[in-house]
């Protein structure tokens, strides 16, 4: 702990030397806890998860999120054993720029869903989460109602890493949660990066939260996200803001009209609501219910889930093929040099690529 006592400005904040708490009161405690956790076998984890033990579920998620090789091996065994226990679930991806009111909305949506029974898990994907600590879901207290609800399980984004890695961990966490009987899954993203595509590849319904206005608040939303949405909902439709929200609704409806039809055959809806004042929440969820009924009837629900499972298998393969290549220090050095040659027009992009690949595959032999 820094002592600001020498800084006159902070004189009042000075802490007397010697009375601050040491970082770990009992140095053995941490070791004991770790030892205890490691003693679970895969079957014990699965048993606990299927019983709905949230403490064991939490520990299993921590295992999934760990980058240690031994944890990963155990985690994969747990996931595989959980697969047959998956409950019938509905997975909803929720995105929107910072300031759109995602946390309040998820809090309100979640409570609405829980009133109908069942359980809810709220997960997140934010590959930047280590840098921007707490940007999304970092602070559970931002979901005041859900964080104290016995049937809600909230888990922040796995900490920073490649998007593929972070997304994979979230998708694996979905498997654990579904085995634990969480039949409603929300996956939150921050709406400004590549993570939306990843979320889109693991949910049944993709909800985009927007704000009314002249377009300035669209600044942060990445191009292409609007066309991914199965539903666009305009938040803060309350008080003097209602008219603006209704206008935005009409504009978005017109815009969606110009988009090509969705592969599901569903026509994306545009609704207004207020997360804070809890207005229009039932209507938003009616839309999602209708969508689920629609795609279950026309077969798209199962088709999409199967496509997603395949997608993640191939995505994992492609990512690891790339990792194996790009994390090679010699390849890294070569790429740096080749890239410069390409930018200087001294070599074509293709010859540069070929040279590095030739080196790589030669070395492998």
């Amino acid at each position: 702990m820094d002592h600001p006592e020498n800084d006159a400005q902070y004189a009042g904040l000075a802490v007397n030397k010697g009375i601050e708490q040491p970082p770990i009161v009992n140095p053995y405690l941490k070791k004991m806890r770790t030892a205890k956790r490691r003693s679970f076998t895969a079957s014990e984890y699965v048993e606990g998860i299927v019983k709905g033990d949230t403490s064991i579920l939490s520990q299993a998620v921590t295992l999934v999120e760990s980058n240690l090789y031994e944890h990963q091996t155990l985690a994969q065994e747990v996931i595989e054993k959980c697969l047959p226990h998956a409950c019938d679930s509905v997975r909803v991806g929720i995105t929107g720029v910072p300031g759109a009111g995602k946390s309040t909305s998820i809090d309100t949506f979640g409570l609405h869903v829980l009133k109908r029974g069942g359980k809810l898990a709220v997960l997140a994907i934010d590959p930047s989460s280590e840098r921007s600590k707490g940007s999304i879901l970092g602070d559970k207290t931002r979901m005041e109602k859900l964080s104290v609800h016995p049937n809600a399980f909230i888990r922040p984004s796995p900490s920073a890493g490649s998007l593929g890695g972070v997304a994979r961990k979230t998708r694996e966490t979905i498997v654990l949660c579904e085995a634990a009987g969480y039949n409603n899954i929300f996956v939150e993203t921050v709406g400004v990066g590549q993570s939306e595509t990843a979320v889109h590849s693991m949910v049944d319904f993709f909800l985009l939260i927007q704000l009314a206005g002249t377009g300035d608040e669209l600044q942060g939303i990445k191009r292409g996200i609007m066309e991914m949405a199965d539903g666009i909902v305009i938040n803060k439709a309350d008080g003097s803001n209602i008219e603006k929200a209704k206008l935005a609704q009409a504009q978005f409806r017109n815009a969606l009209h110009l988009f090509p039809p969705t592969p599901s055959g569903w026509t994306p809806q545009v609704l207004t609501y207020s997360g804070y004042y809890e207005l229009g929440i039932a209507e938003v969820w009616d839309m999602i219910d209708k969508y689920i009924a629609f795609v279950k009837k026309n077969g798209y629900f199962d088709y999409k889930r199967q496509e997603q499972a395949k997608y993640w298998m191939f995505e994992t393969i492609n990512e690891q093929l790339r990792d194996h290549f790009y994390r090679n220090p010699q390849i890294e050095r070569m790429l740096e040099e080749k890239q410069q040659k390409v930018l200087n027009n001294e070599q074509s992009s293709f010859m540069a690529a070929k040279d590095v690949l030739d080196y790589y595959f030669d070395k492998e032999k």
Copy 2:
């Protein structure tokens, strides 16, 4: 040649045996031609290209398109030697669904561009071109004016293959054309597949041709393409169709208003024109000129070209890493089996991927 003489229906089409032409009149001719072509060295190709010899340019493009190893090696040498000779060019990607009038439009746009001097190369990307022979640019005569213009070079899409392969060949052809002094490059796509992203990654301006109407004609356009466009132009704005086109223009303008800003800082424009009656052509090209001036001034033009060069280097690497893996017959068999396990929920997507990867990397050692 089949003889339909035994089929009564085709009796009138019968060819008397012995008088039909043999497939090759002079069996040495083909050999001689091939021999002649092969005798060019890379430097000779480059010399011919830089002089603007269209016959040698055509032959070099054929070399680029060839899948033979020896051709590829020579082609890469030619491309590399052409790089320093690239002229200052403007590359425009043009897309639109079949029926939007792409060929007629390109014919008219091209003639307009050529009136201002310089030369024009019209290329295409259509990974399905072998299947749907002639779907785009297969028939040069569809561009009546350009096909007889001395300063226009029209080249159909390289024949079918992976999108990456087809796109790579088109991008390499751009290098050759620019070395030959073609300072205007059009790259056409069919607007219904993945190829638009590839085209977007090799052009300076991306033009989307649309039709006026109630939305039915959007059926074919892939989601996400609209947000890639730097300009949307509504064709067939002539006669009784003008009002409908103007309405569509207003609708598209409103829709674009809701999109987030483009990375270039440019606001995409929506214009109407008639390719057939040559109305509004100058306005469309004014827009492109303005865009080029705008991005040259703010530095985005060079930035984007550099990003594209890097993109193609990494894209080539990633594609070949994937090819090396997926074209392995044993891997193919394993994947088939693993995919089924994933779909049956017997294995997680990640474990399935891991098993195949472990096998692959073990074998490589």
